[in-house]
């Protein structure tokens, strides 16, 4: 929405005449740029007309000169913009030019259309900064900057600058770029934050969990060791430099520890799940409409990939085309959950639109979606480009494959992408209307022409058999044998139960010798199933001996059938494998499979018949009876099935039912089950693989930049390129473009390693800065003589606060609010109750007592966790950045929820147990350092001590058990509500 601000501004242009003479550059050009350039400029030259220089305006296009200097009335431009008819009027879309704008154009033409001689045409869209590959600029030299800037600065600033220049000779490239920019604005960076605040910041940032008390203490200890003087520096190394280096080593060690933690993958995995739109399946009741079941396998792949520091280039390829890259490897196939997540039951175009829009936004930072109905207004993206991208995805569909462990796809399975419709054509939808496809032209898969630094190389991928027939995966036989064994066990239990029942019934009715109901499964002869006419009607809820015998018989037949299943499964498996391996399969194996199946079916038919017979003599409850077809009819059907099965056994042939081990997602609500069972194609188009490789190409100008911007945004709570999903021409070259490009190239040079990028960022001076707005240091308030309440008198806000309130130049660190996940996870972690188990199926979102990390909750528009929702949890439909609202309801959630009060009590318990001294003062100090990573000021200490006494009195008054513990828990609870707990400083 913001993107059209240009038009809005154009609407506000004052009539130029009001400001005196019309000036072409000031008054005319902005109107043309806002309303005309998209069709008559560098992007397009409709009617061969360009309006981006006065010269080309005079020259005109197909219909002649656009203006006649000195004569506004007959000038084509004026006629067009003031035409009443919509067929005539320019611009043809949107509102007409406003009267003052037209007056300005007229006035300019009247004055002879004067314009500067050296006017340059609008630059070629391909020259847009983000469409050219990033290169590493020369890193500014810190000392040189310092010295160079001195002359321009006021005297007071000069001293500071030169002092600082000497200190920053070893600035990292990241800091050198930022410092160079700050110098242009005469801005000074804020001093570093307290080390403990840095540790809290970086720990939350990289793992989503706060540092423990031990980690805080160890860090302080290591820092002080690194700072302590060593005797007689042998080489005469500058003491300050040595200290700096020592401290850097300590910080680097912390960062290595955090990056090596499996929680790193969880924290950053969640960030990428936001960007990549992770959502569990949802629909209406049992009907799956969106996403796929067990999509959490994709989540686990994300987390594992990050922890393994898999290259981001590789991650892109696996997500978009893992099935074409490693067609039989479930570990890689999991990645294609990225594609499967877009599944939508009802409308293929909606589905395709989502894929095109979000693949473009997430990886390219392009608003491809704007080109669906018309050519992009700002970027060189045409509607054809849009549908060419859709064509890349056109063949793909989603399915569930069996994974080792179970044959039941409801219980587990691998949601994945695969190419199903290899030849389905893609057509342009006229004006975006899916009911109006332009079938005259099939659009071929391609990437936008303007970004074709290299063409898309599409090669079909032949698939190995287990890829298109997952039943051939080695674990499938095991799965099905296991399932068969389970059925035998169940059937055996039923037989035992039936036997017991029969014994009971006979004993009760006067012990008749049980006639053996033992079936002879192979006999194929069935006993007459006529109900004994003389049998007295069974009293409700009692069983006659006849019925009990019938039940036993049915159970025994069922068991007999179940016992034949393993043999059938094995035979079928062998036959399938043989068919897949050889062009001429072993007919003996096929016959064996067919026979095994026929035997099984016969036994099954016998069991069904026995059940039908039983139903005749032991009708189910009245209600059930009404719904079911007549028992007689059922019996007849069973008899027919049996007869067929008996016939089949003598002529089994070589036809049998293969194992399936996969379930294609419905292609629309009306698709039949039979259609779902059709074989899958044996090749994949290779289109997605080609796209993915193009995205992950070192020459791609956008991919690395977009990624770096995303990572930067999450570390600094502020992006380098303001709109993280739009790097198109509406994104002006950012202030820190050189920094962005340097990081992007550096990132690619280091194997697209995210961990490398994190190190670059979190070990920088910029990341270390305090988030204060002025020079009030915490240290000052710690002075024992300070009355901290009078602090406000001594505060001096940094002048940067007025010159750069938005912190565009990174003169201070931005604080950010913990996101929903971090907040809940931190509470559990501090309480010591967080379950560190990684991965696996999702947890019911309503389970408020779960101790797993928050992102393991089921999350979809239908499954929302109440606590997380209060804190702007990710919107599963689109969440390129989280919102950070501040609402009273959040205060209530933190103050009143069981989650927080339980955590508070546990935290207090642990702190009491851990602290050497049980004194209130020690407790307060420990609580502050543990929860807020800062030492309390004297005023804070006093306030807390007073409150602790009040809490104790209150607890005693209401005769609480353990009033001291209650009081301390209350204090902890209050600190968990402290602004600086939920804030990452």
């Amino acid at each position: 929405m913001k993107f059209i601000a240009l038009i809005a501004l154009a609407g506000l242009v004052l009539p130029a005449s009001a400001a005196g003479k019309v000036d072409y550059l000031r008054d005319v050009k902005p109107i043309l740029a806002a309303r005309c350039y998209s069709c008559h400029g560098a992007l397009k030259q409709e009617s061969k007309l360009r309006l981006d220089t006065a010269e080309s305006i005079r020259k005109g296009g197909k219909h002649g000169p656009a203006i006649i200097a000195g004569k506004p009335a007959p000038s084509l431009l004026v006629k067009k913009v003031s035409a009443h008819s919509l067929d005539e009027r320019m611009p043809p879309e949107g509102e007409p030019l406003h009267a003052p704008q037209i007056a300005t154009l007229r006035e300019w033409i009247s004055a002879g259309a004067p314009a500067p001689k050296d006017e340059r045409p609008e630059s070629d869209p391909r020259e847009h900064w983000a469409f050219k590959p990033p290169v590493k600029a020369v890193v500014p030299e810190a000392r040189a900057i310092g010295e160079g800037a001195v002359g321009k600065q006021p005297k007071a600033a000069r001293t500071t600058t030169s002092v600082r220049a000497s200190l920053i000779t070893n600035l990292s490239p990241l800091d050198a770029f930022l410092e160079a920019q700050r110098r242009t604005q005469n801005l000074n960076a804020q001093p570093p934050a307290e080390p403990s605040l840095w540790l809290r910041r970086v720990t939350l940032d990289l793992t989503g969990l706060p540092p423990t008390r031990e980690e805080l203490a160890a860090f302080e200890r290591d820092l002080s060791v690194s700072r302590s003087p060593i005797p007689a520096p042998a080489s005469g190394v500058d003491e300050q430099v040595r200290k700096r280096e020592g401290e850097s080593r300590v910080r680097a060690a912390v960062v290595e520890r955090l990056l090596a933690s499996p929680h790193y993958g969880e924290r950053w995995g969640r960030h990428f799940m936001d960007i990549w739109r992770y959502s569990d399946w949802w629909g209406l009741g049992a009907q799956l409409r969106y996403s796929q079941k067990h999509i959490w396998h994709w989540r686990d792949w994300i987390v594992e990939s990050l922890n393994a520091d898999k290259g981001y280039d590789r991650m892109i390829i696996e997500q978009i085309a893992g099935d074409e890259l490693a067609p039989t490897d479930p570990a890689t196939l999991r990645a294609t959950g990225f594609m499967a997540r877009n599944y939508y039951l009802f409308n293929r175009t909606t589905w395709m639109d989502d894929v095109v829009e979000h693949t473009s936004k997430a990886f390219l930072g392009l608003t491809m979606n704007c080109a669906k109905c018309h050519d992009h207004k700002y970027d060189p993206l045409t509607t054809t480009d849009y549908y060419a991208m859709r064509a890349i995805f056109e063949p793909y569909h989603a399915r569930l494959d069996e994974l080792p462990g179970t044959a039941d796809l409801e219980k587990d399975g691998l949601p994945r992408a695969f190419d199903l419709h290899l030849d389905r054509p893609t057509y342009i939808h006229v004006k975006g209307d899916e009911k109006k496809p332009d079938t005259n032209r099939v659009i071929a898969a391609a990437i936008p022409a303007s970004l074709a630094f290299k063409p898309l190389v599409i090669a079909p991928v032949p698939l190995p058999a287990p890829a298109h027939n997952p039943a051939l995966q080695p674990w499938v036989l095991t799965n099905h044998l296991l399932a068969a064994e389970e059925q035998i066990t169940v059937a055996r239990q039923s037989v035992e139960t039936a036997q017991k029942k029969l014994t009971e019934v006979e004993r009760a009715s006067g012990a008749r010798t049980p006639t053996s109901a033992a079936p002879k499964p192979d006999a194929g002869v069935r006993a007459s199933a006529v109900a004994p006419a003389a049998a007295p009607p069974a009293p409700a809820a009692t069983t006659t001996a006849e019925q009990a015998r019938g039940a036993l018989k049915a159970a025994e037949f069922t068991l007999a059938a179940a016992q034949l299943r393993p043999a059938m499964v094995s035979a079928v498996w062998n036959a399938d494998a043989s068919r897949a391996a050889h062009s001429r399969s072993n007919s003996n194996l096929l016959a064996a499979a067919a026979t095994a199946e026929a035997k099984f079916k016969l036994a099954q038919a016998q069991a069904e018949l026995a059940k039908a017979e039983l139903e005749l003599i032991a009708p189910a409850t009245e209600a059930k009876k009404k719904k079911e077809p007549d028992a007689e009819k059922k019996l007849k059907t069973a008899q027919e099935v049996l007869a067929k099965a008996q016939k089949a056994i003598s002529a089994a042939g070589t036809n049998y039912t293969s194992l399936r081990a996969t379930l294609k997602a419905f292609e629309g609500p009306d698709e039949s089950e039979a259609h779902r069972q059709l074989p899958y194609p044996t090749t994949s188009t290779g289109r997605r693989l080609a796209l993915a490789q193009w995205l992950a190409d070192r020459q791609n100008p956008l991919t690395a930049r977009v990624l770096v911007n995303h990572v930067w945004t999450r570390h600094f709570s502020q992006p380098l390129v303001a709109n993280v999903t739009d790097f198109g021409r509406r994104a002006a070259k950012p202030v820190h473009a050189e920094l962005l490009d340097w990081l992007a190239v550096d990132f690619m040079e280091h194997g697209w390693s995210l961990k490398h990028l994190h190190r670059r960022i979190v070990l920088s001076e910029a990341y270390r800065m305090a988030s204060t707005y002025g020079s009030v240091s915490v240290r000052a308030s710690e002075r024992p003589d300070s009355k901290s309440l009078s602090l406000s008198h001594s505060l001096t806000l940094s002048p940067a606060h007025t010159t750069d309130p938005e912190n565009k130049f990174y003169w201070r660190m931005n604080s950010q609010r913990m996101d929903a996940n971090v907040l809940r996870d931190s509470l559990l972690h501090l309480a010591g109750t967080l379950d560190p188990k990684l991965g696996g199926p999702t947890i019911d979102a309503k389970r408020e007592d779960s101790l797993r990390r928050s992102f393991y909750f089921t999350q979809s528009p239908e499954d929302l966790n109440k606590f997380l929702e209060m804190f702007d949890n990710a919107n599963t439909k689109e969440c390129y950045r989280r919102d950070e609202s501040i609402l009273p309801q959040q205060a209530l959630a933190l103050a009143n929820s069981k989650l927080v009060s339980t955590a508070a009590a546990k935290v207090a318990e642990r702190l009491v147990k851990d602290s050497e001294s049980a004194s209130d003062e020690a407790f307060i100090r420990t609580t502050f350092t543990t929860l807020l990573a800062t030492t309390p000021t004297p005023a804070e200490k006093k306030l807390c001590a007073d409150s602790l006494a009040q809490f104790l009195a209150a607890a005693q008054e209401r005769k609480s058990a353990q009033p001291e513990a209650k009081a301390r828990a209350a204090l902890v609870h209050a600190l968990l509500n402290h602004n600086d707990f939920i804030t990452i400083r």
Partner: protein, 476 residues
Amino acid sequence: MNPTRRSFLTRSGLGFGGLALGTMLARDGFGLESSWRPPTGLPHFPARAKSVIWIFLRGGLSHMESFDPKPALTQYAGKTFAETPFKGIDDAERRKRVRVVVVNDANGQQRNKVYPLQVGFAPGGKSGIEVSDWFPHLRASVDDLAIVRSMWTTDDNHGAQIQFHSGRHMLDVQEPTIGAWVNYGLGSLNENLPQFINMGPRFFDKRDGRYLGPAYDAVPLVIDPREPLAYARPEGDISSAEQQMQFDLVGKLNRLKATQYPGDQALDARIKSYELAYRMQMAVPEAVNTESETEETKKLYGLDQAGTKPFGTQLLAARRFVERGVRFIQIQHGDGAAGSWDAHSSLKANHSTLSAQVDKPTAGLLHDLKRRGLLDETIVVFATEFGRTPGSQGSDGRDHHPYGFSVWLAGGGIKGGIVHGATDELGFHAVEDAHYVTDIHATLLHQLGLKGRKLEVPDRKRLDLDYGEVIKGVLV
């Protein structure tokens, strides 16, 4: 939304946090215009009203089938506009005001075959003003209403919903909404409740405060008797005295922290949110507990019927909020992204169903406010983002229509039983006393004793259009 809001906040140096900072800066001799002072919370001149209940029908109510009857539509049904005697009504100048958001958008195009009225009309009250049969209860209350039949706006798609609240087209820089301005300009009448409440579905931007800061956003409430306010009660073992001590401590600690981080708007907003939260946890459940109301009152709002109950419950809660001094209660009716009133097809079925949900409760609200003596100091606004086309869309619908539509106001020094302004014979253009949406804002502020221009903040120049003009014709 995040980036914009953030930068607005920091840039403006305003909003709740900014106020504190602003005064501090002034003391330290920094920046900001020295003559500027934040609002005192008192009206600028004697107020006629204290509170506003803002009812908004999302999707676009047909003006012709509610409060602006056009028998000509039935008379010339099926004809093109040119075939009627009114072919001259189209006004290109007025049409040009509309700014299309989605290029090539099929919405809001001209539908030139006249579509007949789908409902009958009858005069109501002593004034005899005609109201459609879909609003029989409001017809009976028409003597309390000032119907403005001449509204226009410039967005022909549902961005007009934001526009009606903020006064700006969605392609423009966004301004705070009218509720946020009232919240900003007027002090609280009840410290225990949010001064600005939203009920009902919102799909577009929810940040009313904009550059005034998050502290001026509406507090969204869901009126659910099972859980009137999430986490309203401590779930742990804690007495109310202890809880109060805790909140107290949190507030003091945060204020101490604020001295270390002057200029931190988030911190300041959080301090305020805790103060409100503490008081809200008792006050909100009490305020929304409609159980204590008499059966007669509940029936008045239609709480005894499934169709009217959801909306009626919200309106009853709104009355209770007004009684308790809440300044601005905004109630959105009509679910879905576009809003359910968006009757592109099946207008008759759509509008007859939806009007039945709102008609009785709204009339009940007016009656209830009146008998309690609250209507004099409460303005009820009944609005929608645009009207619907006089021509047909498809076989049985009407499209978006920003050129002329109706809203009404009642109470708080507003005349009753009058019609102000008019559309042409086909209901196409607002031709008589036409009003842009901010004229409604101006009228509300005027009745509340506020001067819009006095609320302007430094570096945030507003346009004349943003202030609108008081609709004098509807004032007592």
